[in-house]
């Protein structure tokens, strides 16, 4: 059986690869969206923090013998904590300034973090094993489904939808949404907005760290892995609409799939298709697919 001249096995395989990539896009752009919404900062260090998450997994295994599941719990805490320190020490001072300063600060941070990791680990990739429980593949009859890849898609969906639920359906989320609109008034009502800002940044960073751990077994861990993915993720954020929660999740997954299918049908376009879509979307809807015009 073929779909537009492509064997269905290859088609479904690329579709799954696209979904896996899309899962990382979704988790990273979701973190960016949450941070941008409340802090008004375009966090260029997000890719470096994602890379730090992957290295927590690598080092935990290499130095302490702690496996994947430990890392999945530890990395968001460690890297999220690092994010909280950055927010308290550095970002606090620039909220009232133009976006450009936040962008420069976080871009500089990304360069420093990546530089430090390159100093210690070089630029060659480090392999990371797939956890035992998720080795192998399941034969679905119409395709062979690698267990770990299916797990990545599922885990990312759970994390993303859980985040969406908390933000859109709970009281805590109502504070967050209200704080995004009018932080001064929310604080006048008695909510500790500065603390909320710090924790939100920590949470967005923790999402990046989870992404890094999930990515560790499917890519080569290296200090530049963040810079490679972050450019696409920014395109995802722009297409989805700056600050839109659902927009970043759906656009992340969708663009991963489109990228994957481009590899099947016209491989030369697979690395540019996202940016072509970005250009078209910006022409038709400058605020992004899910963004609100201001």
């Amino acid at each position: 059986m073929e779909i537009f001249g492509v064997p269905i096995q290859a088609f479904l395989g690329q579709l799954l690869l696209g979904l896996v990539n899309g899962s990382f896009y979704a988790m990273l752009s979701l973190g960016l969206a949450v941070i941008f919404g409340l802090l008004n900062i375009i966090n260029f260090s997000h890719g470096a923090l994602y890379m730090m998450g992957a290295y927590v997994a690598f080092l935990a295994l290499d130095l302490l013998g702690l496996g994947f599941w430990w890392s999945l719990a530890l990395a968001p805490l460690i890297v999220g904590g690092f994010g909280i320190i950055i927010e308290r020490l550095l970002m606090r001072w620039i909220y009232k300034l133009d976006h450009l300063y936040g962008l420069l600060l976080t871009f500089g941070l990304a360069l420093i973090i990546e530089g430090v990791y390159r100093y210690f680990f070089g630029v060659s990739g480090q392999p990371y094993p797939v956890p035992d429980a998720l080795r192998g593949a399941t034969d679905l009859g119409f395709m062979i489904l690698p267990n770990y890849r299916a797990f990545v898609v599922l885990a990312s969906l759970i994390v993303c939808l859980g985040t969406w639920y908390v933000i859109e359906r709970t009281r805590l989320g109502a504070y967050l949404r209200a704080g995004t609109e009018n932080p001064q008034l929310v604080q006048a009502f008695g909510v500790n907005v500065p603390l909320m800002v710090t924790l939100t940044f920590g949470f967005g960073v923790a999402l990046a760290a989870i992404g890094g751990v999930l990515a560790a077994p499917v890519i080569q861990i290296n200090p530049l892995m963040g810079s490679n993915i972050i450019i696409v993720v920014f395109a995802v954020v722009v297409i989805g609409g700056m600050g839109s929660i659902l927009g970043s999740i759906l656009t992340g997954l969708g663009l991963g799939v489109i990228e994957g299918l481009a590899k099947v049908y016209y491989a030369e376009a697979s690395s540019t298709v996202v940016f072509v879509i970005m250009a078209i979307v910006l022409m038709v809807r400058p605020a992004g697919l899910f963004g609100k015009e201001k």
Binding site: R171, A174, Y175, R177, A178, T180, E181, N182, Q184, L185, V186, Q187, A188, F189, G190, V191, N192, V193, P194
Partner: protein, 236 residues
């Protein structure tokens, strides 16, 4: 009438937005259970006075005693917990929250607040529209919501900024009834009002502001003899 207990005392309050010096030594006091109105032209410093009480200005100095506690050095989120509810001039209804989420947003600061059911009895429209997006409500409903949501928190001192502005007369009358009822329930209210005819029958006392200072203070009983002065200051 029982002896007056002071709820709010402001002494020599100066407030700044960046480089601009807005309040130049404001002194005023409000007793528990009183309704006090700040009158004055636009730009006289009335809204800034309310915002200064809440700590929402760039910098402020002087003294603000709320319920016996000094608030001048506190961050805004702690000031609210001294028992203050704030209804801003632009109403501050959040568009990303439903009507009911707006109502439930302000944290409870004291156990004396109204329950959601009591609030819906007072404002049946809000119950009908509780699932609507906050900013889809009519101007009048948004104003009701902005007042209603601070009644839930148990705040005893309500700061109401221009609540009658831009609303149909029938809504303004309903708001007047609400204020009267709140006064009967023992709330302490500081209102900023442009609409003198709305404020006049509601307030116990009035302060007139000009150029960031209090220039006149009088009680409701003295109003008749002050009309000449009010014409001069407010052009009414």
């Amino acid at each position: 009438m029982t002896t007056a207990v002071e709820f709010l005392r402001i002494t020599d309050l100066h407030a700044f937005y960046g480089e601009s010096h807005i309040l130049h030594g404001v002194d005023l006091s409000v007793n528990r259970g009183e309704v006090v109105t700040l009158l004055g032209r636009n730009g006289a410093g009335r809204t800034t006075t309310l915002k200064s009480i809440l700590g929402l200005v760039g910098h402020r100095s002087g003294s603000i005693m709320i319920n016996g506690r000094e608030a001048i050095g506190l961050p805004p989120h702690k000031i609210a917990h001294l028992g203050i509810g704030y209804c801003p001039e632009e109403r501050g209804i959040f568009s990303s929250l439903s009507c009911e989420e707006n109502l439930l947003l302000p944290p409870v600061v004291a156990s004396t607040g109204l329950s959601v059911d009591e609030i819906y009895d007072m404002f049946p429209n809000l119950k009908e529209r509780r699932m609507s997006q906050g900013t889809r409500l009519s101007g009048g409903e948004q104003q009701m919501l902005a007042v209603a949501r601070i009644l839930r928190t148990g705040a005893q001192l309500l700061l109401l900024d221009e609540i009658s502005e831009g609303l149909a007369p029938v809504i303004v009358q309903a708001l007047g009834r609400t204020i009267r009822m709140l006064r009967e329930k023992g709330y302490t209210i500081v209102m900023v009002e442009q609409n003198f005819r709305f404020a006049a029958p509601l307030a116990d006392r009035f302060y007139v502001m000009e150029h960031g200072r209090i220039v006149e203070a009088f009680s409701a009983g003295e109003m008749r003899s002050k009309m000449g002065m009010l014409h001069e200051f407010l052009g009414i």
